[in-house]
């Protein structure tokens, strides 16, 4: 190893200085900066097999040659990639001893979202002295899954326990060199989820990373791999509505979905990373690569509710490789204050009779910028491809911006593509109408926004939808003056 004990200790001290409240930090933190040695060290710490180390190194070498993309409609101060520590073992010790120590503003939000006290503690990182409900839930949960042959574990565990599956599929949908952030993630990913649904199995419950927050920690460079074997079905929930405060400014996750013949994957995300304060200071940069591959008759459906992050760069996509495969993208992106979001999807039609649907609802408030960027591509052999896209923007106030950048490329004469976009605002007449029925302005706005987003909210699993609805309300609070 390239570091001496001395160096580690030094690094440790700086860390302590930075985050004063970490009284007892694990000695398991690598120094700042990124080079081949660090990549090897990460792999070693995770006790990975050699092929995995080599895989990471290849990604790192590719990343070194790449440049950070600038085409997105966002402006931010680029992170200094040499000033980030790329490995820090999950912090097992709770940050606080009781809820009283937690930021009251955060607790207020928890309350509005209707999150239970236990859950609040877990989310805020407060020590819990009783065995928490969800832990036992998680245990029974795992048992049910195992009976069906479903594998649902952390990606680190999967690399150890199911190397053949990881080796076969990792990086097949999002290649290591796909883009700057994907390459970075491939080199240094800390952890994430792995999910495998055997042939013909219908996963009996919504798989959710929610349950594992305390177990693994979400990490800065999350890696998710979902494999649905022939004829299987899974619904996967990611993220949670509670605001996620994180000291890490940069998040670059990669999610790969593989839907083999006749399989279906439904992937729902609610993202509420810390967006920065109302002056635009702080906040998470969320640069995510999400992509799914559909084989014959397979279906992948992405649903997302994006309310957090200071900067979002995210395009959950579908490669419709198999004939008759279906891709769907349903999205609500809310930006307020100084948030910037550049999000959308790519639907790549390769197979015959492939279908895709895109419904995007952008809501901009404050001084935020909200962009939809999408690609619908019909390749020359994709006979009878169909696409329908609808991008609606709602502007609240006139200090914000709504942008639509759809790319439509058709190389087959049998393609049928329809794209529609509209921009509107909440009418004063609508507000007055609601007021007259006894509904105050804030509630009226929430009602109208929910109505605007309904087509997407309807796509979320029930309990997620209710939370998401509340989240929309909270995200837009105080946006109308």
């Amino acid at each position: 190893m390239a570091y001496t004990e001395e160096e580690l200790k030094k690094e440790l001290e700086t860390k302590e200085y930075e985050y004063g409240f970490y009284t007892d930090i694990e000695s398991d933190t690598l120094p700042k900066g990124l080079n081949e040695d660090i990549v090897i060290a990460i792999s070693k710490k995770k006790e990975e097999p050699e092929w995995m180390t080599e895989w990471r190194l290849e990604a790192f070498r590719a990343w070194k040659e790449m440049e950070e993309p600038e085409w997105a409609n966002v402006t931010y101060e680029k992170p200094d990639f040499q000033n980030i520590s790329y490995y820090s073992a999950p912090n097992k010790k709770p940050k606080y001893n009781s809820l009283d120590e937690v930021d009251p503003e955060l607790l207020e939000t928890f309350k509005k979202l209707g999150i239970s006290v236990d859950e609040q503690k877990k989310l805020a990182g407060v020590a819990v002295d009783i065995v928490m409900d969800s832990v036992s839930v998680a245990t029974t949960f795992k048992k049910t899954l195992a009976e069906k042959g479903i594998i649902f574990c952390s990606i680190s565990e999967a690399i150890q326990e199911h190397p053949e599956l990881v080796k076969k599929y990792l990086g097949t949908v999002v290649p290591k060199k796909d883009n700057f952030y994907a390459a970075l993630n491939s080199a240094v990913f800390s952890d994430g989820s792995f999910c495998y649904i055997p042939k013909g199995v219908r996963c009996p419950m919504e798989l959710s990373t929610y349950f594992r927050i305390n177990q693994a920690g979400t990490g800065q460079f999350e890696r998710t791999l979902v494999i649905a074997e022939e004829g299987s079905y899974v619904s996967y929930l990611e993220g949670c509505t509670a605001p996620m405060r994180d000291e890490n400014q940069l998040h670059a996750a990669v999610v790969e979905l593989i839907a083999l013949d006749n399989a279906e994957i439904k992937y729902s995300t609610v993202q509420n990373w810390y967006p920065g304060n109302n002056e635009g200071k702080g906040g998470v940069f969320n640069f995510v690569t999400k992509r799914g591959l559909c084989e014959k008759n397979a279906k992948i459906s992405w649903t997302q509710v994006e309310t957090g992050s200071a900067v979002t760069w995210k395009y959950p996509s579908c490669v419709l490789k198999g004939d008759n495969s279906i891709g769907e993208f349903y999205s609500i992106a809310v930006t307020n204050n100084f948030q910037q979001a550049d999000t959308g999807t790519k639907m790549i039609h390769l197979g015959k009779n492939t279908k895709s649907t895109i419904i995007s609802k952008g809501i901009s408030a404050g001084q935020s910028q909200n962009s939809y960027r999408g690609l619908v591509q019909v390749n020359s052999r994709a006979e009878n491809a169909r696409n329908f896209s609808q991008c609606d923007s709602l502007l609240m106030g006139n200090r914000c911006g709504a942008h639509t950048f759809p790319y439509i490329e058709a190389k087959n004469k049998t393609a049928q593509i329809e794209h529609e976009a509209t921009t509107s605002k909440i009418g004063e007449d609508q507000i007055f109408y609601c007021n007259q029925r006894g509904i105050d302005t804030e509630k009226a706005i929430a009602l109208i926004v929910n109505g605007f987003s309904k087509e997407v909210l309807n796509k979320l699993p029930m309990e997620f939808a209710v939370e998401a609805q509340k989240l929309l309300e909270i995200s837009l609070e105080g946006s109308v003056g």
Partner: protein, 438 residues
């Protein structure tokens, strides 16, 4: 020597003999510097993602035609809209042909940029308007500015309207093996003036022609400008058309672009609304075959409140042709009550044809109505069957439907003879004899 180098090194020779004390000299010098820095756009430029100029840059174009050529009117008559009386400004290989032209100074000025540059009576207009709407940043526009010398100059004073429409015709004789042309047009319609203009580029042989044209149009308060671009050139003729339109309060400017032939056409059509209650209309019909490539790149910048814009582009693409539509609408923060509408509909006829469409909205004001729609599809099979069941043969039925598809774009053409002419060209394109008129 590649084309860029050749152009840059020819600049001094070009300016030799021109008045270097003229204010335009400085514009030209700045422009050539910008072009030298930026060069030809490449596919890496987002705006040129779908159109490559690489092939053109390999051709050894002559920049200054060596000889003047005279043409007989009867030989080129068919390129004019000859069934109505019009003013004509005609250029042969970039050189003004007084023989084929009919200009005027009777209340309005319909003449040449070269006169406008050199005669003191036009100097004020040149100072106020020349290169004021055109981009100083875009490299091909700069290239044209650097070599700006000749083109159409049309000045319509307050409350005036020329007696008849104006035709601008650029003919290329093929006397050069490969010729590059850079016409520069300036059109000014002062307050409450009105003018109708038809512009056409025509190559007469199979030799390569590359035209990089810039047109600036200024519409004063309540002015009405109708501009028709007829692009039905030879398969060896390429055109980059950069048009910049600056509009004042309550003016109406309508630009129709008919892209029916040529090798590579790129239309950069930019509208700047610098006043209130402005109406801008951009319409286009594109019908392509062979390996033709047409790229419509439009921008409508709503910078003031209460304005409207209407865009409607229809494309029919056969053989190995490629169509590109890139339409951008920007609505500034103060441009409340904007009503911006954009529509792009395409039909692919062949397995080898391609369409890339990129309709964009950038909205910074909340009280606006903006929408865009884009479709790519085929002819409606049911409708086709219906027509055939009424005894219309398949080919004619298809043509009829394609006609109907493009029809609403022709509706707003205000010169009936031009409408008829476009109809005829479309009929020829579709390869059928029309027993009907639309």
């Amino acid at each position: 020597m590649d084309l860029k180098e050749k152009l840059v090194s020819s600049f001094m020779a070009f300016e030799d003999g021109l008045d270097l004390d003229h204010p335009v000299h400085e514009e030209r010098s700045n422009a050539i510097k910008n072009f030298e820095t930026k060069g030809f756009p490449t596919k890496k430029d987002e705006a040129w993602k779908y159109t490559s100029l690489k092939g053109l840059q390999k051709i050894d174009f002559s920049i200054f035609p060596k000889q003047e050529t005279t043409l007989e009117y009867k030989d080129v008559k068919k390129y004019f809209l000859h069934d109505i009386d019009t003013y004509k400004i005609v250029f042969v290989d970039g050189v003004y042909s007084s023989y084929l032209s009919e200009t005027t100074h009777d209340g309005v000025d319909v003449c040449l940029m070269s006169s406008a540059f050199s005669k003191p009576m036009f100097q004020q207009v040149i100072e106020v308007y020349f290169n004021k709407a055109a981009s100083k940043d875009e490299s091909l526009t700069s290239l044209n500015t650097a070599f700006s010398k000749e083109g159409a100059y049309i000045y319509i004073p307050k409350n005036k309207m020329p007696k008849k429409p104006i035709q601008i015709l650029h003919l290329a004789t093929g006397n050069e093996a490969a010729l590059m042309l850079q016409p520069r047009n300036l059109i000014v319609a002062e307050d409450n003036a009105e003018v109708q203009i038809i512009e056409r580029h025509q190559s007469l042989t199979g030799n390569e022609v590359f035209t990089n044209s810039v047109t600036e149009i200024f519409a004063g308060k309540d002015a009405i400008v109708d501009y028709y671009k007829v692009q039905n050139d030879a398969p060896t003729a390429s055109l980059v058309d950069n048009t910049y339109i600056s509009q004042k309060d309550k003016s109406v400017v309508r630009v129709h672009t008919f892209s029916l032939g040529g090798k590579l056409i790129r239309n950069n059509l930019n509208f700047y609304q610098n006043g209130e209650r402005i109406d801008s209309t951009l319409k286009g019909i594109t019908i392509l075959g062979d390996k033709q490539h047409v790229d419509h790149h439009t921008l409508v910048h709503h910078a003031q409140p209460n304005c409207e814009s209407h865009q409607d582009y229809k494309g029919i693409f056969g053989d190995s042709s490629t169509g590109v539509f890139n339409g951008k609408i920007i609505v500034d923060k103060i441009a409340q009550k904007t009503d911006a509408f954009q529509q792009n509909n395409n039909i692919l006829l062949s397995d080898r044809s391609t369409i890339n469409s990129k309709p964009q909205l950038e909205i910074f004001a909340d009280d606006v109505k903006c929408s865009h729609g884009c479709t790519i599809g085929q002819l409606d099979e049911e409708a086709l069957f219906y027509l055939r069941s009424r005894g219309i043969p398949k080919k004619e039925a298809k043509a009829l439907m394609m006609y109907a598809f493009a029809n609403n774009v022709l509706e707003s053409v205000r010169i009936p003879e031009l409408k008829a002419r476009i109809n005829k060209i479309i009929a020829e394109k579709l390869g059928v004899r029309m027993g009907f008129d639309l």
